[in-house]
């Protein structure tokens, strides 16, 4: 059943499939540009990150794909960048509140501002998440998103203690973002899509320098822009909810371009990491059926693999796998794997 999918590192052979996925990305997803040069560079950089000996988070950028084992097709991709502000600024708007009170006039106003901030620059960034639409609402999408968290659990020192994810904010049918229209437009002088094209370039980080450096008063923005703050694009609710379920929270940060929420969590707060454990593999012809779904990840770096198993029981500190499943994970009886129970999900 659910064992029909595996997450593994992207390789150059996945290029065409990834390019097709990139073409389906929502407006504003700068981390998955439908640009051949940048995409192949992304795959190369992931491969070298996976083969590097890393003891603290730096420039590494990991990129995984979701493969349908039945067809061999790549139907999703997702990545994690070790340090989002590595050598390039990573700005967010931080939502701050002030009380402007006049005791004499008996007025007390709560004032909201958005202040450009580099607070999140040291965080590790979950990004480049894209699943072919038929699979978006299946357990495979969850497997893809959570596989990154198990990679973090395996190699915590490769990442920052804080993981974040920028969720795409709202835009209209024409791809225009109301927040951009009210804010970014004045500082870039170009529409959202044009800005997106510029950003597809590696210049994104430097272009952030054009943004307003004084805090913005939310009450002065047009209504449409105010309503966009912290709102999730309808097409991004699935990745948003997967991470919320894991304990990520929309803190006080939003994206500087479309005001979509930035989710954040510390490693130890993340369910898939906190509830994960190491155990041995026991390959058997008929694995016993239990009542918990399990994510199972091998401990390899360069050949990292994760599968999602249906209800499965662990016996004597070992997880029972069929030969097929063991093959998908590239492991044999006696190997250690990391398992993490997940609640029963749609299949």
């Amino acid at each position: 059943m659910n064992s029909g999918f595996v997450v593994r590192p992207a390789t150059p052979r996945d290029f065409e499939a990834v390019e097709r996925l990139a073409e389906q990305a929502l407006p504003g997803v700068f981390s998955l540009p439908a640009d051949p040069v940048r995409l192949s560079r992304k795959i190369e950089s992931s491969l070298s990150s996976l083969s590097a000996d890393v003891s603290y988070p730096g420039e590494e950028d990991y990129f995984f794909v979701l493969e349908d084992l039945a067809t061999g097709e790549v139907i999703g991709c997702a990545g994690i960048q070790a340090t989002c502000g590595y050598r390039k600024p990573f700005y967010s708007f931080r939502h701050e509140t002030f009380i402007h009170a006049s005791p004499g006039l008996n007025i007390s106003n709560k004032i909201h501002v958005l202040a450009l901030s580099h607070d999140l620059g040291e965080s590790s960034l979950l990004r480049s998440f894209q699943v072919a639409s038929p699979f978006l609402n299946t357990a495979a999408a969850e497997l893809l998103s959570l596989s990154r968290l198990l990679f973090v659990a395996n190699h915590p020192t490769r990442f920052s203690n804080r993981l974040i994810a920028e969720i795409v904010g709202i835009s209209d049918a024409a791809g225009q973002s109301p927040f951009w229209e009210a804010v970014g437009l004045h500082f870039y002088g170009m529409d959202y899509q044009e800005a997106e094209r510029l950003h597809a370039d590696d210049d994104r980080a430097y272009l952030a320098e054009l943004l307003p450096h004084y805090p913005l008063y939310v009450n002065l923005l047009p209504d449409a822009a105010q309503h966009a703050i912290g709102q999730v694009h309808p097409g991004a609710t699935r990745p948003y909810e997967i991470l919320l379920e894991q304990g990520f929270e929309p803190e006080r940060y939003v994206d500087v371009y479309d005001a979509g929420p930035t989710l954040a969590a510390e490693q130890h707060q993340i369910r898939a990491i906190r509830n994960s454990d190491l155990c041995r593999v026991h390959v058997t012809e008929s694995p016993a059926v239990g009542n918990t779904c399990l994510l199972v990840a091998n401990l390899s770096v360069s050949d990292f693999r994760v599968v999602l198993l249906g209800a499965r029981t662990c016996k004597d500190g070992a997880v029972m796998l069929s030969q097929q499943e063991a093959n998908a994970l590239g492991c044999k009886s006696g190997d250690f794997v990391r398992i993490s129970p997940v609640k029963q999900v749609a299949s």
Partner: protein, 344 residues
């Protein structure tokens, strides 16, 4: 017509004037207690009993029948007792030559920069008297007074000009900016500042600079723009050397104009002269004439001419100034001479 210091007996006349002014003239609200207290302060000021921080030189314009038809004021210093706020217009630039991006964005920053400066203020002329040289006399009298008593004022003088508002007293600048922070109508905020309650400005106003590109166009169009009725008053000060240098009112966005005291035409060109009573010649032009007195100050304007170090005026003018021939006056032509006026 004469300009003289306000007197206690002027209260009723000032109340009537204030009622005809409407909103926008924040320094002359129709509030009897406030007005009578202002008159008392002005009397102390002319008696040299107050410090510059509290000095309020309030003058009235009186016709020959003793009717008060206008008011005009000069504050020793603004913002020395409590903060004085303006927005300072600034600019930020977002530029990336590589991408052909060059975006200037105007900003408004809350500033106390003008604290300590003397201010010409409270000018109001009864609508029926807006004719002839009355407006000019009312406005420029303060400048010739400044020229006489330089030590009582700062080296730079400011004037806040009334900004744009509609017939209901609603200001587009206020609607777009202030109202979002004050949650009260413009007229109320205007009134509160008029009666001297400015602390709420600091309590409620935005403390970070504002990008004006995020305000509604109706509000940005009013930044640094005067109310149509105030245009003549602005033009008058401009011909005296005042200029808008980037400060605007925080409520209605009207411009603050400023000038170095020494560069104000009526200060620079005014001169002490001996009064002579006679018949001004055919070539006489209108002069602004001050009797060089503080508490007994009288300022008027009339045709006069200079002859052998004396200013020749009619006996009626001398009478209005409470002077006689041989007394000293400070005088300046009421109009700035144009090229054609300069004769050998």
């Amino acid at each position: 017509m004469i300009i003289r210091p306000v007197a206690a007996t002027d209260l009723d006349a000032l109340m009537n004037l204030a009622k005809s002014a409407g909103s926008g003239l924040t320094t002359l609200p129709a509030d009897e207690a406030r007005l009578s207290s202002r008159i008392r302060w002005a009397q102390k000021t002319f008696a040299r009993e107050v410090e510059r921080a509290d000095a309020d030189y309030l003058f009235v314009l009186e016709d020959d029948e003793g009717q008060v038809v206008g008011i005009t004021g000069l504050a020793g210093a603004v913002g020395l007792r409590e903060p004085w706020y303006n927005y300072r217009i600034g600019m930020t630039l977002s530029a990336s030559p590589k991408h052909g991006i060059y975006r200037p964005n105007q900003t408004l920053s809350l500033a106390n920069d003008l604290c300590g400066l003397s201010e010409v203020c409270s000018l109001f002329l009864h609508p029926e008297q807006r004719k002839g040289t009355n407006g000019r006399l009312l406005s420029l009298s303060r400048l010739v007074f400044l020229a006489e008593f330089r030590e009582l004022f700062s080296d730079k003088i400011i004037a806040e000009m009334r900004g744009v508002s509609d017939e209901n007293g609603s200001s587009p600048f206020w609607e777009g900016l202030g109202k979002q922070f004050f949650t009260m109508p413009f007229a109320q905020a205007d009134y509160l500042t008029g009666i001297g309650n400015k602390s709420f400005v600091a309590e409620l106003m935005p403390r970070f600079p504002i990008y004006t590109s995020m305000l509604p166009p109706s509000a940005t169009e009013c930044i640094g723009v005067v109310h149509p009725n105030t245009r003549p008053a602005l033009r008058l000060l401009e011909t005296e050397g005042f200029a808008h240098r980037g400060y605007v009112d925080i409520f209605d966005g009207g411009p603050v104009v400023e000038c170095e005291t020494a560069h104000i035409r009526a200060v620079r060109d005014s001169q002490p002269l001996i009064l002579a009573v006679g018949t001004p010649s055919d070539t006489a032009v209108p002069w602004l004439i001050h009797n060089r007195k503080l508490a007994q100050c009288r300022i008027t304007c009339d045709h006069a001419h200079v002859a052998a170090g004396t200013l020749v005026v009619t006996s009626q003018t001398a009478q209005r100034l409470c002077l006689k021939a041989g007394d000293q006056v400070r005088a300046v032509p009421l109009y700035r001479p144009t090229i054609g006026d300069i004769r050998p």
